[in-house]
Amino acid sequence: MRVTFHIPGFLRPHTDGASRVDLDASPATVGEALGMLWQRHPGVRDRVITETGKVRPHVNVFVGDENIRWTGGLETPLSGHPEISIVPAVSGG
């Protein structure tokens, strides 16, 4: 299986500049897939999740078009060739 991550601009200094990261792997869940992402790019981890392992409140993670907040969070199951997008929430001022 293949997993594709879409990386927002702010995190690209930690993915060697890449806006897209492809992994040949078969993670069962989003949490597992993200774990693989920061195994390769450790700088991404603390900016996406907190010390308690939760996705930061103003960061959204999508599988395809679905926000994982409504599909089981980090336990959201993966199948096929999932495209996972990390997106800062539209918040702030």
């Binding site: 981890r45 907190t50 308690t52 960061v59």
Partner: protein
Amino acid sequence: MVDVRQVSVKEGDVLLLIGTMKGAFVLRSNAARANWDVAGPYFAGHEVYALAFDQREGRRRLWAAPGSQHWGSMLSSSDDFGRTWTNPESAPIRFPEDTGKSLKRIWQIRPGPEDEPDTMYAGVEPAALFESHDGGESWALMRGLWNHPHREQWQPGGGGLCLHTILPDPSGRQRLTVAISTAGVYRTDDGGRSWQERNHGVRAEFLPDKYPEFGQCVHKIVQHPSHPDRLFLQNHWGLYRSDNGGDSWKDIANGVPSDFGFAMVMHPHDPETVYILPLESDEFRCTPEGKLRVYRTRDGGGSWEALTKGLPQEHALETVLRDAMDADPLNPAGIYFGTRNGAVWGSPNGGNTWQEVISGLPPVVCVRAEVVGDPAKVRVPKPGVRATAKRPAKARKKAAPKTKRTGKAKKAAARPKTRSMKKRPKARGAKKRPKARAASGKSARRAPKKK
């Protein structure tokens, strides 16, 4: 792409480190503190509540704590006055897993005492103290305070439950004093193993029991290095002084328009002199009567005088937050403060006269004033003499193209303008100031800023 400006800094320069809600700026001047070059914004879009400058053991290291609503709080340092900053892979300050907590904001970065050149402290939200003993490379939660039986009962203040002030002991004792909103003052005398509340005499206006053991909303405490047991405290209502390291406090709100406020600054040389910036009340956290006034005591709180020369005295409803005021160590000392409306004011003469240093910044939350190298070696020119002799008009003209060197005239024009702190001849000043102030965006200063 954000256009980031840089400045060249040399020994003897004065630095103003400005943390705002949308980035950090580094301003530099020579000892006259009359003209300021502006660098930044660094960490554009990030709030920067904590800045520090560590010069121990020959370092020239800036520290910043950029925080993002999206991506969390980081700790970053620069050894070249802001040209490059570290961008650590992992968050250097993090709560251990067993605490079940996550870092919300870094409120304070504080280099330790001179004789412990690799010790650093950080105060954070949720209220906790972190320490480093390798110059800021790695950090650990100070468990002694974290395990304090009071901690579960500490309550968040308006800014959150934060440990915002850290006073290392300059006299070599194993003492450390911190202030927490809302918990009060805590002190350790054994290097952090055990902590005791030090709030005796400090009033908690907002609680049924006005003098509780803890739970006071202390906004700022300051200490003079030559008198480490002499502390001053700006409370959420109340001004206090302690002569015994915080064991007891006495009220010193003698003749101030309000004893509510956030900022408080110790004079670098005189342990009797302290500066505050009173605000109307907890309901209306703006300068009373629309007058922007710094208050100074020169007798340890026995009396306070308003410092207003050069500061707007009408329609100035300003807010100055707890870390947005500082003093440089020159003689005479420079005193500086930044406002939530994005202006920074400075006085090169201990508060006697003031001038706007810069305006048009995002809301200012942190101001640090530093001298690069040994301040005792810096000669401060006499006012007036220096302004013409040391920085002739030609030199100023020379400096002007600096802003245009990028070739982005539009952007340069949109940038915040620096103000001269030079004292002008009276007649000229009276004529020119309103014009200059209007040009500097006085109306913008009053207009409510988008958050």
